[in-house]
Point group: C2
Chain length 312, copies 2
């Protein structure tokens, strides 16, 4: 008990200087929320493009806008990388050599965790700063600073993916950060995260893209009139930035492939069933769909312990 | 030109007595819209359950609520069957023998057209009433009278599926009916309708159910926290009434099977590609998804002629 109390004492409810590296929809929403909630004394943002920096300042998304990552992280106690998964390790490398404030906690918002975490820990080995992976289960099919919303993280689940190397202090700081934004934190290992998220997010994404491509494969003009709300919803996420999603999926193909194979097996069963007893097979899969959705979504707001992760 | 003008003269902008057979979400929304828009002098509804009839009267969805179809259709100039696809032919049969007002136009709101149209024309052969299939591309994953909305049909596309047996007068009446509700009418043959709708609606429905079932196949409590807006949207239609959708899909398995086979072929290509050049295959299908969705949805509001159907 004493240890936990001690940890809690160390936590600052207000962060001194938070650096956001990348001001797309995720980063800009984070800046908005931090400023609105007065969670950080200073919010510093990095964006490569001058126009983005100008807009971020004009819209009061950040207090300071930097054109170099090195300047943005200077003196920051909390740093969030809001950039594509495969870009983040290079970014961490660029600031790892003495530019980070001692005790600074680094995190990100990427949808794949194991690769980033492994590389970040290698880069920061021996440093006085720690990287702990974050994945907010929140987002938008729109992209860019213009799509930012101050409430993007409110009520969202944020997966925190510490390894055994991560200190309790760093975990607690990251947990407090997301909680201050109104998110619910769950703690899970990076590899386990990638396995789960392949099923709940990466599979639906590729399926939505495949479906949109299949329905729109020819004579699109004719078929368009017959596309209703069902098609629109089912394929909405297919509008997500293909570059960004390519980067995500490419970094989790091992688990994505496993999920696609399981999915393909079920699809085969449906097609086989349509040839034999169509009524039975259709009924079966419609029922499984309703049951699957209910069991997943009705359990979203429970805090039950599980063998996969603990609620943070 | 003279013929068309003559046809137009015959059209009543206000219907005298519209009968709605079935007061679920589709039928009740229709009643609401007819009464709100003062499109019919009298709206008569049929519902088997006393509670539904009471609610329909209390919520001013209908003027008269009947417990027998025979009473509901009495004296009606326009009759809309808002019941499951496979139930409709039996309903038409029950009123075909002299109960219908001469010149009455019958239609429905079913998602499959060929079977209904063929059976209805057989039943009504020699009668002074005609059946013309309608399919409003509108709906809700919710069901029952409680989910009804007066604006359900506003802005929706309604496919009208006349056969060569249908008179210009009946087609025009049906067209005016849906237009009065604010819908856009497209005219297409029943068989062609079923072929197109298998791709744009029935395929997405079974895919959404399959996906929800796959993601929720085990350890659902653990996976639920990792289901975000993407999963929720992609599988929303899987919440649709399984009984109703079973009825729809079972009546269009020929085309649904063709669509599922085409879809399976593409899925196989993705899985094959993940083993060879994962980056290339992911990029390709994400791009096809965006392009497919854009081409379908950007063409929804154009009135261009096509080889499949004409704008009504």
């Amino acid at each position: 008990m004493r240890k936990i109390r001690k940890e809690k004492k160390e936590i600052k409810k207000t962060f001194n200087r938070v650096a956001i590296i990348g001001l797309g929809v995720m980063g800009a929403s984070l800046g908005m929320a931090l400023k609105k909630g007065k969670i950080a004394k200073n919010v510093v943002g990095f964006a490569r493009r001058l126009e983005t920096r100008k807009k971020a300042l004009a819209c009061k998304i950040v207090d300071i806008a930097c054109d170099r990552i090195e300047s943005a992280v200077h003196g920051a106690d909390f740093i969030v990388f809001c950039a594509p998964v495969s870009v983040i390790p290079g970014m961490i490398k660029s600031v790892a050599g003495g530019l980070l404030a001692p005790g600074a906690v680094l995190t990100d918002v990427g949808s794949v965790k194991n690769k980033i975490v492994v590389e970040a820990e290698k880069i920061l080995y021996g440093c006085k700063s720690e990287f702990i992976g974050s994945h907010p289960i929140a987002g938008s099919e729109q992209h860019g600073l213009e799509a930012a919303r101050a409430d993007l993280y409110r009520g969202a689940v944020v997966a925190l993916t510490p390894t055994p190397c991560i200190s309790g202090r760093a975990l607690q700081i990251a947990r407090e950060f997301w909680r201050a934004l109104g998110a619910e934190v769950v703690v899970v290992g990076p590899e386990e995260h990638d396995r789960i998220i392949a099923r709940t997010s990466h599979l639906p994404h590729i399926i939505a893209a495949l479906l949109a491509g299949c329905v729109g494969r020819d004579h699109s003009a004719e078929y368009g009139k017959f596309c209703g709300g069902g098609f629109r919803d089912t394929t909405r996420i297919a509008e997500g930035d293909p570059e960004l999603w390519h980067d995500i999926l490419e970094n989790n193909t091992l688990y994505l492939k496993k999920e696609l194979e399981a999915y393909q097996k079920e699809l085969k069963k449906i097609l086989g069933g349509l040839k034999k007893d169509k009524s039975k097979i259709i009924k079966k899969y419609l029922k499984l769909g309703v049951e699957g959705r209910h069991s997943l979504l009705s359990n979203q707001n429970t805090g039950s312990a599980s063998r996969f992760f603990s609620n943070g």
